[in-house]
Amino acid sequence: MKTAKQYTEEQQGYRLHVLPTNKYKTVSIVVKWKAPLEKETITRRALLPSIMEKATENFPSARKLQGALEDLYGTALSADASKKGENHVITFRMEVVNDRYLKDEDSILKKALHILNDVLFHPKSEGEGFSASVFKREKETLAQRIRSIKDDKMSYANTRLLDHMCEDEAYGVHAQGHLEDLEPLTNEELYSYYKNMLQKDELDVYITGDVSQEEMIPLFNEYFVRHAAEPAPATTVSDMQVEEPREIIEREEMSQGKLHIGFRTHTFFGEEDYYALQVFNGIFGGFPSSKLFMNVREKHSLAYYAASRFESHKGLMFVFSGIDPADYDQAKTIILDQKKAIEDGDFTNEDVEEAKQQIIHQLKETMEHPYGLIEILYHQQLSGRQIEASELFERLEKVSREDVVRIAKKIELDTVYFLTSLEKGDA
């Protein structure tokens, strides 16, 4: 296993991470802006990336900006916003064909960085706001996106589960923003928030591909200048104890019921127990060989999917499954029984070893993808601990049967949420 070589440089106002590799025919750049997760700012932060990627000073419309990227052999640029624990992260990704595979003479990377700089630091502005037409159109688009969450039943059920489960926590806010905050938002308010973000957000920049640290540092010094940031206070994550598990049933017009169950793991990225949590999840519902898949699907034919995943920075775990509305009680019982079975030690040493191998395989596979590797390194950056891949695997290997049982008992059921079809007579 080759571990990723990472050169991290504290540049003026940001950290530059260079990851040289010869595996790809492209160079990928990822820019991450981080701030604390707050209801007050989330809607603004959800709207910002789509405005920034639409028009800049030098490329004043989406067509002109995209046209310029296309001229660079269809360089891909995308932006999104997401929750990472109780942080909010705005991400810009750019992928450029490596110059050496092209018959062109000019450096495409240089030109691409120039565009990226424009997108991040020089959006098209009018007075103390963004371009009025871009602002208006993107605000409408975001409102539309928020209203459409309901149309995708799986993500709607996820959102509703969190609404109930994290009602009083920062994590309960919606990554795509809230309509009631979007409607009154003015262009000037957003622009002033953008200026604030430039000043205060923590900024990390990653670059990977067939590049060297010696070439990249001067290049970024030229195209990527930021005035020193005021460091934001470190965020502390709230970890709630469950008083009494809740059960919530909501109804919509649909044919399949979505059973989503939320747990508290009280375990966070970078902690000792985190490795055992990963193994627990592997035995419980992380893979097609896990208990949830084998019992809910293969043994009882109740579902096409039944799986679990966890949120590393907030200490949550979720189970999700799509079932016939009539099978709710049976499916819920089977799912909760699988957790109980692990608490009772009802699994083999072989299950533990297999789960470890699956997790290691998954990690290696993720690390081989340019954006995947960067995500893993950024997770570590967030947790404040850099761990070599080899050490990561060693710690996983050390997880014992007893550790898994202990974690199973540590994980608390918080909320059973069922989004199901209307009752007869409802429609």
Binding site: Y73, V97, S148
Partner: protein, 428 residues
């Protein structure tokens, strides 16, 4: 074993046709940690009417059977094959499309054992009445999951109103009703006909030594026996050139209406090369007008007729071809009217030489980015091979395209009679 080098992209393909007819391709990438393998049969949801191997009477099998078979191959008398891969630290999956069924794994260790597991499980079926019955519950939930997805319903609804009778119009997984009729014997009939090695392609890409891997696969195949297999006789209904319906709509519980235009492409009599040629040109053309930098998209977006859910795709196969454009729209009628008009006006538009070079550059960049992915290479190499084309010749093919090729393509492109519109309307 034959070796073919592609200098411009710095890739080498090793290939061999086994004595039993199985086509094997290897792409050795020692710099990668991962190995990806995909075992594909030229058999998908549209292959419903055919003459079974060793018989002389044609049969028509229930809708959704190719997908059902895909599920059932994972189950053996004593175990689930997912667990075999788990024991080897690998992950496995499978998919069924209109024209193919594919089984795949990804591994970062035990490469040879994983290749053997993949090949052996696909070549050793075990179907029982009991396990067939059990699967009906699982697949019913899979179908219901898709039934609740408005995008999926919009996509398949559009195809359904493009085609009069071609089986591309039926859902890949079938319906909750149609799968109830599937029996163990049906599965064996389909399996024996379509899973013969001569109808299949194995592609392994990643970290291994190619000579050794080819020997390994050859030895594995030589140990197994298969009957002689003549070419498969599949039959498809004759499909008119025109669209089945000019418009159609369904109602669903959605917050925003969805609207699509479907185009029925003509593939009759086209060679593999011509299919690739047309697919590239149609993709570049749609991209030119309807991507974020396109003038038609810009107009639709600025006038509020669509939002960023708008997308398009074009699919060209031996037996059918279609293009679908659409997304969420709060003014679906106005949007569809405008979009149809735009598509029909493309014949009058002029593409400058400069624009065409730009279109080519974008396509080249897109292709090069895709080559980062072992999955893309293996899946697409197999896809193009089944059409009789080499994936790595796509790059020179794009480079050689001329403005005149595009003009000729546009000239012969769709008529209004080949179009349909489809809406997913919110329930009152």
């Amino acid at each position: 074993m034959k070796t073919q080098e592609f200098h411009q992209i710095n890739e080498t393909i090793h290939e061999e046709k086994m004595d039993n007819g199985l086509q094997v391709f290897l792409l050795s990438k020692p710099e990668m940690v991962k190995t990806y393998g995909i075992f594909t049969t030229d058999y998908g949801s549209i292959d419903q009417t055919f003459t079974p191997l060793g018989e002389d009477k044609e049969v028509t099998v229930p809708e959704g059977i190719a997908h059902f078979l895909e599920h059932k191959l994972f189950e053996k008398e004593d175990r689930d094959v997912f667990q075999d891969f788990t024991k080897l630290g690998a992950s496995a999956n499978a998919f069924t499309s209109f024209t193919k069924t594919a089984y795949l794994f990804s591994a970062t260790s035990h490469v040879y054992e994983n290749v053997r597991t993949l090949v052996d499980f696909v070549q050793d079926p075990y179907f029982s009445e009991q396990s067939v019955e059990k699967e009906k519950g699982i697949i019913s939930q899979e179908i219901r999951m898709y039934d609740d997805q408005p995008d999926w319903r919009g996509f398949f609804g559009t195809i359904g109103s493009l085609y009069h009778k071609h089986p591309v119009k039926i859902d890949i997984a079938g319906t909750v009703d149609s799968i109830q009729h599937i029996t163990k014997d049906d599965l064996y009939t389909c399996y024996e006909t379509f899973y013969h090695p001569s109808n299949m392609v194995l592609f392994i890409a990643g970290n291994f030594e190619p000579e050794q891997m080819m020997d390994f696969i050859r030895e594995n195949q030589q140990r197994k026996e298969f009957p002689e297999a003549p070419e498969i006789n599949r039959r498809f209904p004759r499909e008119p050139v025109s669209a089945f319906k000019s418009e159609e709509a369904i109602e669903m519980a959605v917050s925003t209406p969805k609207a699509y235009v479907g185009l029925k492409e003509q593939v009759d009599g086209l060679s593999g090369e011509e299919i690739l040629h047309n697919e590239l040109l149609s993709d570049m053309l749609l991209d030119h007008y309807f991507s974020t930098s396109g003038k038609f998209y810009d107009e639709l977006y600025q006038s509020g007729l669509v939002d960023d859910s708008f997308h398009f795709e074009t699919e060209w196969e031996r037996e059918f071809g279609f293009t679908i454009l659409g997304g969420d729209s709060r003014k679906p009628d106005a949007f569809l009217k405008r979009l149809k008009k735009m598509l029909l006006s493309i014949k009058e538009e002029k593409i400058s030489a400069e624009d065409f070079e730009k279109m080519k550059r974008k396509k080249i960049g897109e292709f090069m980015r895709a080559l980062n992915s072992l999955e893309f290479i293996a899946n697409q190499y197999t896809h193009y091979h089944m059409l009789g084309v080499n994936l790595f010749n796509v790059l020179p093919e794009i480079e050689s395209l001329k403005k005149e090729d595009m003009e000729e393509f546009i000239e012969n492109w769709i008529q209004e009679s080949q179009m349909t519109t489809f809406q997913v309307k919110p329930k009152e």
